[in-house]
Subunit: 477 residues, 2 copies
């Protein structure tokens, strides 16, 4: 039975895209419906999102942010107020044209993002410097009318949070933009065990209406980059379009400075594609809804079942979420199912183990087995959970580093991109035409100008003129 | 200053509707935007909703429910599958007709409720009796195209949770329906200090497509009833329309039995209108985002400020959410502001108090003051919070009971309804024509057939023929 279920998913290295979809379905993260391009997030997938929400919400509140809820509709005239913004979003929004029996005088779009609504609200409630800063966040769903869709990575509706803040000075807003990017990066590394490159988007890749866009970029197991969260500095662009002014200490009317930042359910796709393997999902312990699955073996041994429940009770008292899989399926089937769902540790407990006062712990990331005394099981589980989290991050980082290569000429860049996927480090002169040419000839786009690596000079990989920055390039989702 | 702010809201007994709107705005619960009929839920209002969510979500999970997320759109053909349901909802839905640049082949409605999506999903994932029951819940926003709207009570978009469950037997589904209604009732009484009448809706008032609708009805301060949560039993009506079948233990194909149940942000309106007074909001301690506001008095006394922060730290260690209002506004202004926001306890601390090693505690519900020793303040605050919660419920219940009157003839009923608002208890024969006549002539509708009061026989208040049940009647929001 174990064999059967494992074989039901495509081999990861044979067809990564199909493997990904198989995991989403077989681990019961999502399902499809008759609503084209949208997905159903099933209980197990949603429990992962709830953990992500809980952890991020805690970090947002610790940094002084407050949650609000804005309408899901945006009148067309409001969306049109900031020119760059509407140009970026109008081609991909869904329009409500009828409400009940009446045709609407003005179309409403279903929010693709809520800058315009926050702008209007801030213009309304902020009067003086005493009202600043405003540090708001919203958890909601948004809609972008995508043509091709994939579970978590790209769907017409997705869940996210969007932070929107206004500040008295440009410096303060810039600081907020960077602070939130670092918050996302720390969250991804500490909580999801996903190593990220922090950096800035080029002019071409930045958000519609932003002055600067910062990003964290992760590298999936197949070497494709995934933009995992972004943070935008708007200067006073929107403030001017929406008349967002306040009276400063000298009673002068000033424009506010603004930021926004967001992370979406797409990050669940990043967890799957960073850690998953041919047995299915592999969840880092911190984000796993179930940390331990206890599997009693031997149908006619009530004492095994009893001990399993006792252990579950003990773990719950230690705040370790666990389950007892006492279904009537074969042990092999239950082992495979537990692996498919990526549960960090499975406990195997049979009559012979019980006689010896032991049980077997199997860690999901390496599938290594350890036999431990029953009295020491809880302690060992705690130790293992910490170790799995650490090791998963280190392995992902090592893989990412292995897949990050530096080139100095277009020839090298082309050869590398044809041979393997991954991050390509290459200097750039800052000119749009070189960026376009690299995309056209090599098939990679600029992912970011990294924060944590100093640019030490050199020539542009494309035109061989003086470079102005180091850029990470890659194929992306 | 205190005088000024208090006078800014309308007197509750002079114009209840205006008083209500004033509180929503002045306590900074909501704001308006250019999106007609929708509201912005501001940080303080949203923090109340977050507390409601957290407590309910805990209770849902304790009773075995799991959260999921369904698409926000419903294709017209899917909505049309159950006849009664579509008749009830089609006139008030918003329609998306365009996605990006393309006109849609089939219109999508923005969900007014998600029965149809859950039905399709359950038909898809449930194969055998082993897959039952499924106990799902969803937190989301829904849209109903209302003509006249009011903050929290009626808006085109509102936040809610919708539970949708399927079961192998009618008995089990019926039990779930009632269990969830009791869960809502207990939550309202224990957490929001709102007494409710539990009961069943008449045929006329039940949910579109349901076999039975259960409701909890609360009575606002002005004697108008507010339907606070509902729970529906669908039998196999939807199951037949959506081919929701499963194989039972004897390998026979059977229809599933279904329920749904929901509570919305409207319940925040109930909190305001049950407990609020001429000074503003009054929040029951359990749901209050801030339980204690410490107000230091005397600008040039750093030791007062220091002691205030020390007290705040002590309360936080005891898990009591509190704030120090150290703004440069006058004490009177800060007292009034704290009252407007309905914070259960305010602590007044001045230099003379500090000399005497005392502080003054003012409870929001009665505005009673107590002087206590600083060492005993925390203990007294804990005691007071419990007492406020209890007393608020008892006062609301006493008022509700005072406003509940029994009549036996139409004359009595008309006179009563003309003189005062409140619940009217009156027997009914069960005929629709009597229900319609009562609405037309008396101006009240049936709120519910109460669960907790036995019907002991009598005549129908309208036709004076044999009655079949006791009914609560009233005007409603």
């Amino acid at each position: 039975m174990q064999e059967k279920q494992v074989k039901e998913i495509t081999n990861r290295d044979v067809d990564f895209a199909q493997w990904y979809t198989d995991v989403c379905i077989k681990a019961e993260l999502i399902d499809y419906s008759s609503v084209k391009g949208c997905m159903i997030i099933r209980p197990y997938g949603y429990a992962i999102w709830e953990n992500i929400q809980k952890e991020l919400d805690k970090r947002f509140k610790e940094t002084g942010h407050q949650n609000v809820y804005m309408p899901m509709f945006i009148p067309e005239s409001l969306l049109n107020k900031e020119k760059d913004h509407v140009e970026g979003f109008a081609p991909e929004v869904a329009w409500v044209t009828q409400g009940g029996e009446e045709e609407l005088k003005e179309r409403l779009c279903v929010r693709p993002t809520s800058e315009t609504l926050f702008c209007e609200h801030y213009a309304n409630i902020v009067k003086s410097y005493r009202d600043l800063p405003k540090l708001y966040n919203q958890w909601c769903s948004v809609v972008r009318w995508e043509k091709t869709t994939r579970p978590f990575l790209r769907s017409r509706e997705f869940l996210w949070q969007e932070g929107h803040t206004v500040h008295a000075t440009a410096e303060e807003a810039k600081e907020e933009t960077k602070k939130m990017l670092n918050l996302y990066a720390d969250f991804c590394e500490e909580y999801l065990a996903i190593p990220v490159v922090r950096g800035e988007k080029t002019e071409k890749e930045k958000f519609a209406g932003a002055e600067n866009t910062y990003t964290i970029e992760a590298l999936m197991h197949n070497g494709i980059a995934l933009q995992s969260a972004t943070s935008h500095y708007f200067g006073d662009n929107f403030a001017k379009a929406f008349h967002m002014t306040y009276l400063d200490k000298e009673n002068q009317l000033k424009y506010m400075f603004q930021t926004s930042w967001g992370i979406t359910t797409r990050i669940i796709g990043a967890v799957i594609m960073t850690h998953g393997d041919d047995h299915g999902l592999v969840l880092p312990p911190n984000v796993a809804p179930i940390k331990v699955s206890i599997i009693p073996i031997g149908k006619n041994h009530p004492e095994v079942l009893e001990k399993s429940y006792e252990m579950a009770k003990e773990l719950k008292l230690l705040n370790i979420e666990c389950e007892v899989d006492d279904s009537d399926k074969t042990p092999g089937y239950r082992f495979a199912d537990c692996e498919m769902r990526g549960i960090p540790i499975r406990v195997e407990l049979g009559p012979r183990d019980l006689e010896n006062n032991t049980c077997v712990l199997v860690r999901r990331d390496t599938l290594e087995k350890t036999e431990v005394n029953l009295e020491e099981a809880a302690e060992e589980i705690i130790r293992l959970l910490v170790d799995i989290q650490d090791q998963m991050f280190l392995r992902a980082k090592m893989r990412r580093d292995d897949m990050t290569k530096t080139v100095t000429t277009m020839e090298e860049m082309k050869t590398l991109a044809e041979t393997e996927n991954g991050f390509i480090r290459a200097n750039w002169c800052g000119k749009r035409e070189c960026e376009d040419k690299i995309k056209e000839e090599v098939g990679v786009t600029s992912r970011c100008i990294p924060w944590e690596e100093e640019f030490t000079g050199g020539k542009c990989v494309c035109c061989q003129e003086e470079a102005t920055q180091l850029v990470y390039w890659g194929k992306q989702y």
